[in-house]
């Protein structure tokens, strides 16, 4: 299902506070997940803080579920929606997806890992952070993504763990999907309206 256009492969050193993870050249989501999981395992083994995984709706939710299971963590993942804090409400209204924020843990003092499929402009992340802080005051918030699209960030936010980079032109959108046999896969679409990216 996923197209693999020409991507510029880069290996980029992630920010200093996280474990170095190397990029891959293609958009094989399952392969990227393996890298992400390895990275998370490494991080957890180096610290004894109890972390809570929170999937960013909607692409990050499957990832968070898989990680929760594969990391053997207790309890349920949280789900967080950017709906209520989006900055493009006046243009787009409320999104059609019905996913609501559900955080089944005490946010105050928590060590939260946000899990998302793609880090692009950073606006979703900003909205998600505002949403999270409506629920309480976490001790720390970190971000793990499968893919970062470098060069397009519009806000000073960054991911602590990146499985891979993808250099796609703005006319193309990248979305994580589940195949019929429950495998993760990336879907690349050409967008008609740049406002939709």
């Amino acid at each position: 299902m996923s197209n693999t256009p020409d991507t510029v492969s880069k290996t980029m050193a992630p920010s200093a506070s996280s474990t170095a993870v190397q990029a891959v050249n293609n958009l094989n989501a399952e392969a990227l997940y393996t890298v992400l999981l390895a990275g998370m395992k490494s991080i957890l083994s180096n610290s004894d803080q109890a972390i809570r995984l929170v999937g960013v709706a909607s692409g990050g939710v499957w990832l968070a579920q898989r990680l929760q299971q594969d990391l053997g963590l207790d309890g349920d993942i949280g789900v967080i929606s950017s709906n209520m804090h989006r900055d493009d409400f006046a243009k787009r209204g409320l999104s059609a997806t019905n996913t609501q924020t559900k955080l089944p843990f005490e946010v105050n003092g928590a060590h939260v890992w946000l899990i998302d499929d793609v880090l692009y402009t950073g606006r979703t992340l900003r909205a998600v952070l505002n949403e999270l802080f409506d629920f309480g005051r976490p001790h720390s918030v970190k971000l793990a993504v499968l893919i970062e699209r470098p060069g397009y960030k519009q806000l000073p936010v960054s991911a602590d763990l990146v499985a891979g980079l993808a250099d796609l032109p703005p006319q193309q959108s990248l979305e994580l999907t589940l195949t019929a046999d429950k495998q993760l896969a990336f879907d690349v679409q050409t967008v008609q309206d740049l406002r939709d990216v």
């Binding site: 804090h85 409400f89 505002n130 409506d134 629920f135």
Partner: protein
Amino acid sequence: MRIQRNPQLNSNGELIHLLSTEGLSKNMLTHMLDTAANFVSVSSRDVKKVPLLRGKSVFNLFFENSTRTRTTFDIAATRLSADVINLDIAKSSASKGESLLDTIDNLAAMAADIFVVRHGDSGAPYLIAQHVAPHVHVVNAGDGRHAHPTQALLDMYTIRHFKGDFTNLSVAIVGDVLHSRVARSNIHALTTLGCPDVRVVGPKTLVPQDFSHLGVRVCHDMAEGLRDVDVVITLRLQNERMSGALLPSAQEFFKSYGLTTQRMQLAKPDAIVMHPGPINRGVEISSEVVDGPQAVILSQVTFGIAVRMAVMSIVASHEA
């Protein structure tokens, strides 16, 4: 000046004003209920605000008194981070003879984005909606006997919450249907959402046969009207009805049409009881039923805030 298309919708078919549940598609009504579901959870957070209407001004224009409806709109708008201005029309310029449209013009000049309007004349919000600038939205909080769309939406939300699917429900609306904007809006919403059996129940003076044209069953006998229903919606009986030769007394009304525990036995055992408020205990409904396990009246109030948040966010997000 002639309005050609549904004034609630822009040319893309998106909702820019909420004036009536009549003429809105099932998808649109369902979308509003789904959006409201998002907002129900906001009310249980610590921070009960979201910034969706930040910077917008919501003017509550109530030409008819109603502290409760106005308060819920006030809370809903505040939770969306809007600035709320409440206009006490009785004391204001309108009572000094200023025309409705002049009042609107003056307020619009103060940069209103949303007018929430309650007015004693059927059709008044349509006049206003035609008249305002393109970026201004009108939400009807009740016009004469014609419509009360947000009440209908919160009633539908309540029914969906407790009963799920509309397509196999029986719903009875009991009381002064003739004068009720709640009844009309509920009837349109229920029939649009696919409810196959909607009944209106009351004496002939208050429940005329004409209502059958709206797709409902007209009943003048509570036994027929309540039999096996899943939902009973009781309407408020106003004192004026006694003076207009429509009813002899509140006691007689209660005797024949009051919703009592005994009459509730006609309905399904898990039927729910609703009321738009304010309640006249002992007139349209007994205290026992109001305080009993089948009444979901307080849930209606809670859902009312979420529904109004949904309505205001939806109309504000569409351009004329």
